[in-house]
C-alpha cells in the first residue's frame, strides 16, 4: 500500500453508483423506471397532507431503514442520512472496490446538503415543547446537521482522508462532485460523493412552502412541468445519489468498470436582483465546457436544472440557446419523475447521465404538454430517445443565485 500520493493526469472516473429515488431504490431499479418514464410523484402518503397548500411530493416510499442499517444507527440518524448510508453501501458494492486495499487517509467523503435532518429535528422539537428538554435525544446534537451524511459515511466505511460538506441548495449536488475532483487531483484515491436530501416531514414541507416556489397543484401528473406554458412551481422530492469517484489510474489498475469521467466543472453566482446584469448560468456552462476542453457541438445531451418557475426556466432556456444554438442539443429533465431533491438532484442527474451514456438512451421529461416554443428547446418528452452519447452536460441551480455545470465523458471515450 503506497502512502505517497501519486496523481494521475487523467480526469477522475465514476466507478460506482448508489441511488435512492422516489421512482426506484438502487441504481438499476431507478434507471429502469426512469427510461420508461415511470413517475414517483404522488400526494404525500406518510401523513395526511391534504390540508397543505402543496401536497404533492416525490417520496421514497419503499425504503425501510431497518432493512439496511443496524439498530445502533437507527436512533441516531435522520431518514435522509439512512438513505445516504444505504446508497453508499450500494455504490461501494457496484464499484467492486475492496476498501481494505486503500489507505484510510487516501479515501474521503464529500457530500452536499440542502436542509439537514428535518424529520429527526421535528420529532425532537415536538418532544421539547410537549414534554420538556430532558426528552430531547442527545443525538439531535448532530443528526440534524448538514455535515452528518459525510460524517456517517466516513465512519461506516473507515474513510479518514479529506472530507467535507457543501451547502449550496440545489447546486450542491454538482458542487460536491467538483470538490471531490479537487481531492482526487491532489492524490486522494477514492472519494464517496454526491447528495441525499429530504425534508418532506410536516415541518420540512411548511418551511419549503415559505419560498412560494412549490407547485400548488394537487395533481401529481401536472404539478411539475418545467418549460411548459403551464409551469408554476416545482414539486419537492427526497433521495439522491452517492457516487464512487476514483483516480483514473487507480481504477484502471484494478480493472474497475468505468461509467465515465468527470471532465469539466464550474460554478458561478448570479448578480444581485435589480443589478441589471445578466444571470450567470451561461457563464457556468461555458466555463465547464472550457474546463473539459469540449466544444458546444460535442455535447450530446443536457440534463437541465428545470426549475419549474417560469423566470428561471426562461433563463435556463436562454443560456442553452446562447451556448448551443436553439434546438441544437437534446435536453431532458428526468427529475420530473422524482421532484426536485435539493442536493440530491444534481447527483442523481449525474447518475442518470452516466447510465444514459452507458445504454445509449436519453430518459424523458414527463408531464410537459405545451412546451413554450420561444424557449427553442429540443426537449425529450414522454418517451426515451436512443442516441450515441459520449458527452453529457448536467446543470443545477440553487435558490439564492448558485449555478453549477458539470461535463461528463462516457466510459467508452477512454480516460484520455
Amino acid at each position: 500500500m503506497s502512502t505517497a500520493p501519486s496523481k494521475s493526469t487523467a480526469d477522475p472516473v465514476v466507478t460506482g453508483i448508489g441511488v435512492a429515488a422516489p421512482n426506484g431504490l438502487g441504481a438499476e431499479e431507478y434507471w429502469n423506471a426512469t427510461v420508461k418514464g415511470v413517475s414517483g410523484l404522488g400526494v404525500i402518503a406518510r401523513y395526511d397532507a391534504s390540508q397543505y397548500p402543496s401536497p404533492v411530493a416525490g417520496e421514497v416510499l419503499d425504503f425501510v431503514a431497518a432493512d439496511h442499517l443496524s439498530s445502533r444507527l437507527l436512533p441516531q440518524t435522520d431518514r435522509s442520512t439512512q438513505m445516504a448510508l444505504a446508497a453508499s453501501d450500494w455504490a461501494l458494492a457496484d464499484a467492486g472496490l475492496d476498501l481494505a486495499q486503500v489507505g484510510e487517509f487516501e479515501m474521503g467523503v464529500v457530500t452536499a446538503s440542502g436542509s439537514g435532518g428535518f424529520e429527526f429535528a421535528q420529532k425532537e422539537l415536538q418532544a421539547l415543547w410537549s414534554q420538556g428538554p430532558e426528552y430531547v435525544s442527545a443525538y439531535q446534537s448532530f443528526a440534524w446537521f448538514y455535515a452528518v451524511n459525510t460524517g456517517q459515511i466516513s465512519i461506516r466505511h473507515g474513510m479518514r482522508g479529506p472530507s467535507g460538506v457543501l451547502v449550496v441548495e440545489q447546486a450542491g449536488g454538482l458542487d460536491a462532485l467538483g470538490h471531490a475532483r479537487r481531492h482526487v487531483r491532489k492524490g486522494v484515491k477514492v472519494v464517496f460523493t454526491g447528495g441525499v436530501d429530504g425534508s418532506l416531514s410536516p415541518w420540512g414541507l411548511v418551511c419549503q412552502n415559505t419560498t412560494g416556489e412549490l407547485s400548488r397543484s394537487r395533481d401529481p401528473e401536472s404539478a411539475y412541468v418545467p418549460f411548459d406554458a403551464a409551469s408554476a412551481g416545482y414539486v419537492p422530492g427526497e433521495g439522491g445519489a452517492i457516487l464512487v469517484l476514483e483516480d483514473a489510474d487507480a481504477a484502471a489498475a484494478r480493472g474497475a468498470q468505468v461509467y465515465g469521467s468527470l471532465a469539466g466543472y464550474a460554478a458561478t453566482f448570479d448578480p444581485a436582483p435589480g443589478s441589471g446584469r445578466p444571470p450567470s448560468l451561461r457563464r457556468a456552462i461555458e466555463l465547464a465546457l472550457a474546463d473539459a476542453r469540449v466544444e458546444p457541438g460535442e455535447v450530446d445531451v443536457v440534463f437541465a436544472d428545470a426549475s419549474g418557475l417560469p423566470q428561471r426556466d426562461r433563463q435556463e432556456a436562454e443560456a442553452l440557446a446562447a451556448v448551443f444554438g436553439p434546438g441544437r442539443v437534446p435536453v431532458t429533465a428526468p427529475k420530473t419523475m422524482t421532484g426536485r431533491m435539493y442536493s440530491g438532484a444534481g447527483s442523481l442527474d449525474v447518475a442518470a447521465a452516466l447510465l444514459s451514456m452507458r445504454d445509449g438512451v436519453i430518459p424523458p421529461t414527463i408531464g410537459v404538454r405545451e412546451p413554450l416554443p420561444e424557449y427553442g428547446l429540443d426537449l425529450v418528452r414522454d418517451v426515451s430517445r436512443e442516441a450515441d452519447l459520449r458527452t453529457a452536460l448536467v446543470l443545477a441551480r440553487g435558490r439564492g443565485g448558485f449555478n453549477a455545470a458539470l461535463v461528463l465523458r462516457s466510459g467508452r471515450s477512454g480516460a484520455a
Binding site: 443496524s70 439498530s71 445502533r72 444507527l73 437507527l74 436512533p75 441516531q76 430532558e134 426528552y135 435525544s137 442527545a138 443525538y139 446534537s141
Partner: protein, 86 residues
C-alpha cells in the same frame, strides 16, 4: 418503602431501546465489567441512556453518570441514587 430495583437487565433494555445494539456484541450476564466502549456504546449513547433512566425513575444521576466506564459502575450509581431517593 423499598427502593425500586435496577438490574443489569433493566440497563440493557434502556440501552437497546434508546441506542440500539451493535451487531457483533451480545449483552449477556457477563458484561458487568466490559467497558461500554467495547459494547459499542459511545458517550452520546450513555448520555441518552442516563437521560432515559432519570426520566423513568424520577432521579438525578448527575453529569458524571455518562462517564461511568462499565455497566457495574453505572448500576452502582443508579442503585445508590435510588436508595437515597426513597
Amino acid at each position: 418503602m423499598a427502593a425500586p430495583e435496577f438490574t443489569l437487565d433493566d440497563l440493557v433494555n434502556v440501552l437497546r431501546d434508546c441506542a440500539g445494539q451493535s451487531e457483533n456484541v451480545s449483552l449477556g450476564e457477563d458484561i458487568l465489567d466490559v467497558p461500554f466502549a467495547d459494547l459499542g456504546y459511545d458517550s452520546l449513547a450513555l448520555m441518552e441512556a442516563v437521560s432515559r433512566i432519570q426520566r423513568q425513575y424520577q432521579v438525578r444521576l448527575g453529569d458524571e453518570a455518562a462517564g461511568d466506564e462499565t455497566p457495574r459502575l453505572l448500576l452502582a450509581r443508579v442503585r445508590e441514587t435510588l436508595a437515597v431517593a426513597v
